[in-house]
Symmetry: D2
Subunit: 362 residues, 4 copies
């Protein structure tokens, strides 16, 4: 009800503020018998964490997770997987001066109104630190999906005004992490890095776009009405901090296309499997996967904190100025790649399990 | 679980196929004591129905709803509101020849895989006829919202390649329905109508964009993590047939903006109420409404059915040709305006009620 | 949220008041491919309906259901099954005089407080007429369960002070419907009938106990913590009008038994299948079915309406007298047998499907 | 879905096995602004913990909880309250020999079938240790309820064959904890203690009954159909380990009572408030509280573990003998008193919040 849980069958509930004792969560509905590869979790956690490269914040967090239940001798038991990630590197003093001031485009004001009070240290629940719990859970979901051959690859396709113009099926995902900004095209990546370094000098920030491709999805996942597969993906993505837009398949461009140019004709591949010749539908028709690649774009605005003086008001409604100091990301988008992958994995895992329920005989 | 319900507190469950006996639904969680204005329901139903103008399909449906429960002497009783809309104008014969053929970009194929069988008449659950139930329920939700002063206005801002370029706050919503295509700008509207008439002649179709503005929303609605207000709006919109994209506030454009140019500074209005000077946040910060207007764009592709010959395969995977005949919309976007409003109303009504739960004392 | 839905995977949502246009419901989550035997639905509906024998009310309702969706050519399609049952035999005048008076042990008063208003005609949602929708849905659930061999048999084991004292495994379920009171023991049944006829003469009423046995349940159904199989059965039963108690296996008697006398030792049957030698656990251990018969008792109080003068108050809190007239059941328990079976079927169908989700490989 | 969450608005999700790193949970939906009295939590935790008196197990657990989020400076923030209780006193060796043997009336066998594997150490999720998380959460729910004046008092009314025969309204709850067995009647309490001590010598165990009384409940809580207040209480109680039965108000005895003797006539108290003269309805009519005391009985069987030799089978289905050693409770019922109170508090808190949603105007 209070919106801290995600999914219907494979579910994640998260808790924790950035400046409390710990963040954490409960994965419920992960089937019994899944062998966990902890190194994969570590890798994804490390791709998300602050301080990983020169183009991100210099703030360091170790993001050490502890699994408390649901995994016995490295294998899931079917019972809920409780986990925590202790908070470190807390300097409440940093935030004391912002106690009564509403930071522009942060959730300080909206929290105050919603709850009548707030933990002013670091954004509370709206801190992006919460996404560490998602990445942990998403990694387990990905490992579950891998048993059905499903693979998820996200990468940065735009940073500020620098964008990659390549169709999704010409991307070499193996190169994504060769790039500090997780753009799998060397030339574009270099431009993006240059762009971010300029912003960093000015204490400014920018947004970007992440594209995500889900391959090897069996046809039949998703529901026809409210829980269309792309509707659930959309909610998943928009629930990530700073995301302002989502499109799948031909996306916004489809608005100006004609039906005769847009429809994906059916055909068969050499093995006789039914496929579509083109994939403007983005692998989903009528809300249900058709076996082609699913691909979508996620638009991120800049992070709200910038190291420049801004006008705002305090709790009493009086005008005041605010100038953030400290360590902040000029562009959070590269770190958001594993978050996008995690949320996609949670949606797919949920629907993969739900599909077990659709027919009289399995 | 099977994705036929929407909302957590103010909920809508729908049922029904386009070619069965009836479609319908159950609204559960509408508070007791709401006087229903049936003319408002009629108006919204009529804005959605086929055959309403020369630029839409000539197929006519009367969409007469019958309320079966939950309303006594014109007032809601707090118990579930069951309603049905009988199907008429059924010509199953029209569909017989498509029984074993998968129509391009329709859900015929994905249904067959998902369920192992399907009612081939007219798309089953994926028929846009299901949205009549949403419009009915959304109208009741809107009337509930009106008690808190909340207003929802959607309009067509793009049809094919013709688009309206005006900021949301310069739109005169009163003019929306003066236009056959529900574009509140006369000149753009005329261009859109011309564009659609050309397509109609060719048996082709196109998509478009609907913009929606929600005004007078109290600050505090929405949840900070998974159920961010915009995340729920996004899912609501992507659950509408043919929608391929969603963006709110500065949307996809935010990806290339710098923080210094994008942040919304806080200020106060003449009455001392805290406002933001600009509204790039789209009325939502950290997932929670801040009291400013909420606005978002919804991208629709064309409807899948076109009156041209297309290649496809049948159930056996054999190549075949398909040429639809009959009555179909060249551009469904004008009829989707009340659907967008309805889904927005359902999201807002849900969160308006949920906000009653956030504090110890109301 | 508002408590009109039951189940998590195989779900039933009901709507409708006894004196509105219709009652009905939506079954969501019934797998595709189930052939419906309509005569079984008819049979269960007919066992529940009023006016079926001399020991029940003489009020007649036809309880004709209409299936609106989700079933095509007699087979479920996997989409929601919407259904309605029109209300007939309405004489609102009967209830006019009770408009402002709170009938003792009815929900008139509690409704008025809960909702601030009420449809005073015949109890609104709390009318037992709502259970017709449950029997309809339960019959479909039973047919789904039958594919796994699961059988549900309920019978009357007590009426007022007359009780049947036979262990559940010595009951011949085939004889249940030979008895007007659905007690499968001729001698006890005759006593019960005599008892009820005496009460009827006095305008009085009484309660009773229904025992229910679920056979051929595969081991593994149910969840270990909150959704223990017996916890869900208990809620299902207590949600039936007039039910005041539930016990399973050794039930209340277990409170005074010693562990050494109560534990069920494991053994194997001739086929090598693991069984328990005794079944005091009622077929459920740790909330999960163990493959033995599940059995439980459900205690019903009398119906609240009696044809005698009673003291009460009106809306204004003033003392008044009330004497119901008309047609009422002296003992509703025989008619509740199919309701108990229906609710048990809904619980079992839900958990049978949920069990598909528990392991990595099905 | 997997049954590890309870409640719809005020929700508790628990995780953890008795022999993993920790148990814990997440409370979601507790309103912001509630000042937590930690000593009340401590008190309830201590009433549940093992080793508290000579009539319970001598195994000691400290049950130290750590709150990780959702409480700031002693006040709830409206965000999820994550908490953990570390496991101590683990001697896995104790359980090694039971690895392949199914203990009678334990869930070893049913777990093995359900999940295909199990953590054999101490019962996994079905260990009563999980209830520590419920007591923690229930104490916070109780403190929320106290703001509306609602009080919950449970006590032991039967141990084995020794029972207390006093109407609920003649009980002095202040005396409950004067008794080692939590029976507020000195004479009966002494008999119960004697009874348990005899069993302890024999290595045997027994069950009992807990009665619970909820006072000062405002009229209007509960829903009329599936979520009747007593239905939710019933599920809550049956979800507690070893519970085999539930009855409220006149309970099973109502089955043999006549309507004329059972109905509760309405009247007014000296202040003009509408009350019932008697309270056989147990404070609930039509599933909704009527303002009178709610009272109910919960029947517990003995704990499954007894210190006597028993016959059973192992995984391979071969006959074997088992004799548990160690420290076990001869009668767990006194320790279950705070668990019953906790589960009742969770149900009431959920419905108290839900009632905020029932009317157009609050």
């Amino acid at each position: 009800m209070a919106g801290n849980s995600f999914g219907k069958v494979f579910t994640l509930t998260t808790f924790g503020e950035s400046h409390g004792a710990a963040i954490g969560g409960v994965i419920d509905g992960c089937p019994a018998g899944l062998s966990i590869d902890f190194s994969q979790i570590d890798k994804q956690m490390s791709r998300r964490k602050p301080g990983q490269s020169s183009v991100t914040t210099s703030r360091k967090e170790d993001d050490l997770y502890e699994i408390l239940s649901g995994v016995y001798e490295g294998v899931t038991t079917g019972t809920p997987i409780g986990f925590i990630i202790r908070n470190q590197d807390q300097k409440p003093g940093d935030y004391e001066k912002m106690k009564d001031v509403f930071r522009p485009s942060h959730s300080d004001f909206t929290y105050e109104v919603k709850y009548g009070l707030r933990d002013h240290r670091g954004g509370g629940r709206s801190s992006a630190r919460e996404t560490a719990a998602r990445v942990f859970a998403g990694s387990i979901a990905s490992q579950f999906l891998a048993h059905s051959g499903i693979k998820i690859n996200a990468f940065v396709s735009q940073v500020g005004t620098v964008s990659l113009n390549k169709p999704y099926d010409q991307i070499d995902f193996a190169k994504t992490d060769d790039s500090l900004v997780r753009c799998p095209d060397k030339k574009t990546s270099d431009e993006m890095i240059g762009y971010i370094e300029e912003l960093k000098k000015k204490g400014d920030s920018t947004g970007g776009i992440i594209q995500c491709v889900v391959s090897n999805v069996p046809a039949g996942l998703g529901d026809p009405v409210f829980d269309k597969l792309h509707a659930d993906l959309s909610k998943a993505m928009l629930s990530i901090n700073a995301v302002h837009g989502f499109e799948y398949g031909s996306g916004f461009a489809s608005a100006s296309m004609m039906g005769s140019a847009h429809n994906d004709e059916f055909s068969t591949d050499v093995a006789g499997k039914i496929i579509t010749k083109t994939n403007r539908s983005g692998g989903i028709q009528g809300g249900i996967s058709n076996g082609m690649d699913i691909y979508f774009n996620v638009a991120f605005k800049h992070v709200a904190t910038i190291l420049q003086k801004q006008n705002t008001v305090n709790k009493a409604g009086e005008s005041t100025e605010l100038e953030a100091a400290g360590r902040h990301d000029p562009c959070v988008v590269p770190r958001a790649v594993p978050i996008v992958e995690a949320m996609a994995a949670l949606v797919l895992a949920d629907h993969l399990l739900r599909q077990r329920l659709s027919k009289l005989k399995q």
